[in-house]
């Protein structure tokens, strides 16, 4: 074990200068270390209205009845955990590593420490984050929620999350990543390793809400075993400097399925390099990758990649990009690769402006042009998140409407 750790450390140190393959290259030295201590939050209901609003905008509700449990990390430290169903585990990754010696065998196994400088830094700082484990057969009745909040100015927040959904278990997870009001510049580096065991399913909703000078570099790998299911919805609708993320779902067991949706808006000055990748490593696996993005002046690159290595695999990739201003740009980069016969991978990509006929149709019903465009834009995004469980979706649609689109 000792030797392995030494080896990891060496690899990470060597990768500290390694540029990421995509996205703007941030100089890590120009950001301070995020504080490793947090002011504890006893009860989410006792937060001040401003903080509550910050959390609400990323789907984190103070009402304990609507959630099975909550975990909040501020900067680089745990600030809150609460859990009403003790059969589940919800703690910080560092706590979990102490509690479960076996966890070491899983940490940094899906995301290599030397992926790039961001993963290397997170490893070397022994980044904390959330650890979730749903025991075999447990079907969680309500969602868990986790919030990763950046509170300090011009620091780099490093996080490491590990999730286990054991055999036959089921979980809805909401993760909100955001900044405290007033924080303008910073880096959010987040490693997520997600294990979905045989017949288990995870419905993962992640909402990002940043600020104009924040850089965001998530590194996520998900491993889905036989008959397992991973559904993810990534939502980013507010200004940000740069997000580059390309989560990978490895479908390792027969009949494993995944569906990843991305909905995002790029404002002037924002660069969003977003993608998702599915690797079909077992027969009869399925994937659907959906992206619906809008630019009002920023730059969007929508990637999607499907790699087929097993018979009977089936995947579809759908990229749609709207341009709502003169200056923005949309680039869709779909990649399909089949390495065996009997495999079906398809893609569909379209970028452009709103159809005038649709806008006028709604205007003919008495809606102003602005209302018509708003309704169409909301609908455009809405299609991207229809896989979210109904009750939760209503909540998230609300979040989108009120806080993100300001309608």
């Amino acid at each position: 074990m000792q030797a392995e750790e030494l080896n990891l450390k060496k690899r990470a140190e060597k990768a500290l200068q390694k540029r990421a393959r995509y996205g703007e290259d941030f100089d890590l030295k120009s950001f301070g270390a995020a504080p490793k201590f947090a002011k504890p939050i006893k009860d989410l209901r006792e937060l001040d209205p401003e903080s509550k609003k910050t959390l609400l905008q990323v789907g984190i509700v103070p009402d304990a009845k609507a959630r099975l449990g909550s975990l909040i990390i501020t900067d680089n430290a745990l600030a809150h955990t609460s859990l009403s169903d003790k059969s589940l585990e919800l703690l910080s990754t560092q706590q979990a590593l102490k509690k479960h010696p076996w966890l070491k065998a899983y940490a940094w196994k899906l995301v290599p420490v030397d992926t790039d400088k961001y993963s290397a830094k997170s490893y070397l700082e022994a980044a904390d984050g959330y650890f979730i484990r749903v025991p075999a057969g447990k079907k969680a009745s309500f969602p868990l929620q986790t919030c990763l909040l950046l509170r300090s100015e011009k620091v780099s927040q490093t996080l490491h999350n590990i999730v286990f959904v054991e055999e036959g278990a089921q979980l809805d997870l909401i993760t909100g990543c955001t900044v405290e009001k007033g924080v303008e510049e910073g880096l959010h580096l987040g490693i997520s390793e997600i294990y979905i065991k045989k017949g288990a399913s995870l419905n993962f909703t992640m909402i990002h809400n940043w600020n104009k000078q924040i850089g965001v570099r998530p590194r996520t790998v998900v491993c889905v075993e036989e008959g397992g299911s991973f559904v993810s919805n990534y939502i980013c609708l507010k200004p940000v400097r740069s997000v580059q993320s390309y989560p990978t779902v490895r479908l390792e067991g027969k009949g494993a399925v995944t569906r990843l949706s991305t909905i995002a808006i790029a404002y002037p000055g924002s660069e969003l390099d977003l993608g998702s990748r599915a690797v079909f490593n077992a027969p009869g696996t399925r994937a659907e990758l959906i992206s619906r993005t809008i630019t009002t002046g920023g730059k969007i690159i929508a990637r999607g990649e499907m790699l087929g290595w097993a018979k009977g695999a089936k995947g579809h990739l759908e990229c749609r990009g709207l341009i709502l201003s003169e200056s923005g740009s949309q680039r869709a980069i779909p990649i399909l690769e089949a390495n065996v016969e009997d495999i079906e991978l398809t893609h569909e990509a379209a970028v452009g402006k709103l159809a005038r006929a649709q806008v006028e149709y709604l205007m003919a019903r008495g809606l102003s042009e602005e209302e018509a465009v708003g309704m169409l834009v909301r609908g455009f995004l809405d299609v991207g998140i229809r896989a979210i469980p109904k009750k939760l979706r209503r909540e998230i649609e609300d979040t989108i409407t009120k806080t993100a689109l300001g309608m």
């Binding site: 006929a357 006028e360 003919a364 019903r365 008495g366 809606l367 102003s368 169409l376 809405d382």
Partner: protein
Amino acid sequence: MLKIEKLTVEVAGKVLLRDLDLEVKKGHTNILFGPNGAGKSALMRTIMGFSGYKVISGRILFNGEELAELSVDERAKRGIGIMMQRPPDISGVRLRELIKATSRGRIEPEALAKTLDLKPFLDRDVNVGFSGGEIKRSELLQLAAQDPAFFLLDEPESGVDLVSIGQIGKLIRKMLSAGIKCPGERYEKGKSALIITHTGQILDYVRADRGYILCEGRIMCSGNPLELLDEIKSRGYEECIRCKLKS
């Protein structure tokens, strides 16, 4: 209510309507006949102000006001409502949401949808995958929510099964006579309409005042709508063109 004078309209560089005169008085329901491709739908789209339909000369007056400078929504706000022959799919927008927005919250979509057997459609995306008849009913539902003073109905009964024709016809009649207590009030308080029909089936349900025949972008003839329909049925449109050429 609606007065069109010497209207010439161009679409994609081609003249579609030429020197067209047409009038619909307050409380009147007028019928527009004409063969496929005559320009009937184009006329309705021009009245509504859709882009691509360029008025080269002439004018359209609505309650005495010229429409030329008004945007689509301004025309809708003046009281013009359209039932389109081929409305676009609005993916992501549920019918319920559109009804709510159209009626500005005045109307409960559930109750309204029930009268048209459209309840199951409220949570579907507007027009997406709707059958021909379902589109007609959904267009009517939207018009009922909008409650215009002037209806442009583009083939309300085409593609609709016989049972639904009754349903649609009765609803149109009800909408056109909303707010009037006796026939005498019709030209004073009734709604007005311009209706395109090929079969004339809608005439079993609404009282039509005047008919127009449009061929190749021109009004060939106008008169009693039932008589015009009989004439078209027995002699076809060819005769109208020949007749017009003679005059």
